[in-house]
């Protein structure tokens, strides 16, 4: 199981509660994780990445194991500690004022 931490605006939008626990089929990648998250909470479609191209929204960041992994290739393996459920995959809004 993988734990995902969502920011407050997406919790309110989706009705999810932190941590969201996901079991992925196949390799644990950023793409697979986001697809599983969107499948469970369809209201999140389009809020973290473009629903067609898959490109991450500019002001959305992904952190794990104290690293910014936002720009990792979407099909790269997630950090082992995340895949093993020891560390969460964190989704957050970038610091950009407002």
């Amino acid at each position: 199981m993988i734990d995902v931490i969502l920011p407050a605006p997406l919790l309110r939008l989706s009705g999810a509660q932190n941590p969201v626990r996901l079991a992925l089929q196949g390799p644990a990648t950023q793409r697979a994780l986001l697809a599983a998250l969107e499948q469970r909470y369809p209201s999140l479609l389009g809020t973290m990445r473009d629903r067609h191209s898959g490109q991450r929204r500019a002001y959305v960041r992904f952190y794990a194991c104290n690293q910014d992994i936002s720009d990792q290739p979407p099909d790269a393996p997630l950090p082992p500690a995340v895949s093993a459920g020891h560390e969460p995959f964190i989704v957050l809004g970038a610091l950009s004022g407002g």
Binding site: P9, L13, G46, R57, A94
Partner: protein, 371 residues
């Protein structure tokens, strides 16, 4: 008359303000969708319990919310606003070309006869329609592709389609306005379009009378005279009596003809309202006095309405979608400000009361009259 429901969209959430038909005591509910920009909320004329809201943020993109119980509960519906066919390019501020890119929905216009049909005006400018209550959206691409789209460019607020008028007397006639492209009309349910900007004069353009490129801020029409259109342009208040085929200026004795909203009295088709703003760079009322101006003759002759409005040190703006009317008798007028105030008049503008004083900056105001 049982009452009114004022739907207020702000920079940081939505609010619903309630009153009975006397419109003297008000109750504020909210914030809904706290922290998100709510560009617009709209109720269905066919089912007043059906509401739609455009919820957006720079972080998390566009969400459309729908309520089937008058705003008590909401659910996110579809948010896939994909341009149809060739995406194409439009002018950018520096004269370069940029591909159309979806940013947000500025305005929602539910159909008069079907609560599941709703039109949506987008930035970058395009018109979408949903016929299943917002679950799916389809662009009407004839507008963007009719031939002048390459010459459109963003206004200061973005290249937004902000006004959608559905003509009640001519099924299939849709009129829209885009900043900064101008006004456009379809007579076949949005399949084909033509610019309707003859008579507009914009000195900011190299050709002031150009076919497109005008920064139209808002259009309004009375349902009983839908071919008479009123326009608040970047500068100039304009009027058309032929559905937009030609326009004449009716700014008359306004202290400034710059502004954003324009509205028509609910029962008097020739009585119109604007809120003059000092200039294109000074987006606040002249002399620091917040005054609505009313013309009972469809323009040219204007009178200031200030009773109950701040008359000193007032430097707020009233945005294009932030003025609305109810259907009560006497007719009510409402507007919201960038300072977070919402004002209401229950006597056609003769006097005003503050019905909300400290909201986030108001982006839009709509009013439902509940029987």
């Amino acid at each position: 008359m049982q009452g009114v429901r004022v739907l207020v969209g702000t920079r940081k959430g939505a609010f619903i303000i309630h009153a009975d038909g006397n419109r003297r005591q008000w109750r504020i509910d909210g914030p809904l969708f706290g922290g998100w920009e709510i560009y617009h909320l709209a109720g269905s004329p066919a089912d007043p319990q059906r509401l739609y809201a455009s919820q957006a943020s720079d972080w998390f993109g566009q969400v459309i919310q729908r309520s089937d119980d008058g705003g008590a509960t909401w659910a996110a519906v579809g948010n896939d606003f994909s341009y149809q066919g060739e995406v194409g390019q439009h002018q950018w501020y520096d004269g370069s070309l940029r591909p159309w890119t979806f940013k947000r929905i500025w305005h929602l216009e539910p159909a008069a006869d079907d609560p599941d049909t709703v039109y949506a005006g987008a930035e970058d400018a395009a018109l979408f329609v949903s016929r299943d209550g917002g679950h799916s959206w389809c662009e009407l691409p004839g507008l963007r592709q009719h031939g002048t789209g390459r010459d459109w460019m963003p206004g200061a607020g973005g290249m937004c389609l902000h006004t959608i008028l559905l003509n009640p007397a001519r099924p299939g006639r849709i009129t829209v306005a885009i900043s900064a492209a101008g006004s456009f009309r379809s007579d076949d349910h949005g399949e084909t379009w033509k610019p309707i900007n003859r008579g507009l004069h914009s000195e900011q353009l190299p050709e002031p009378g150009a076919e497109v490129g005008h920064c139209v801020h808002r259009l309004a029409a009375h349902p009983s005279q839908p071919d008479t259109l009123f326009m608040q342009k970047h500068w100039d208040v304009m009027r058309s009596d032929d559905g937009g085929d030609s326009w004449v200026e009716v700014s008359g004795n306004l202290p400034s003809d710059f502004g954003f909203p324009i509205a028509v009295h609910p029962h008097e088709p020739q009585t119109i309202y604007v809120v003059p703003i000092k200039s294109d760079s000074e987006h606040y009322p002249p002399e620091g006095k917040l005054r609505v101006y009313r013309s009972r003759s469809g323009g040219r002759d204007w009178e200031p309405l200030s009773h109950g409005l701040p008359q000193q040190h007032c430097y707020v703006n009233v945005l294009r979608d932030a003025m609305a009317v109810d259907q009560c008798d006497p007719g009510g007028i409402y507007f919201g400000t960038t300072g977070g105030q919402v004002y209401a008049s229950n006597d056609g503008g003769d006097s005003w009361q503050t019905i909300a004083a400290h909201l986030p900056a108001v982006l839009s105001v709509e009013v439902q009259t509940l029987n």
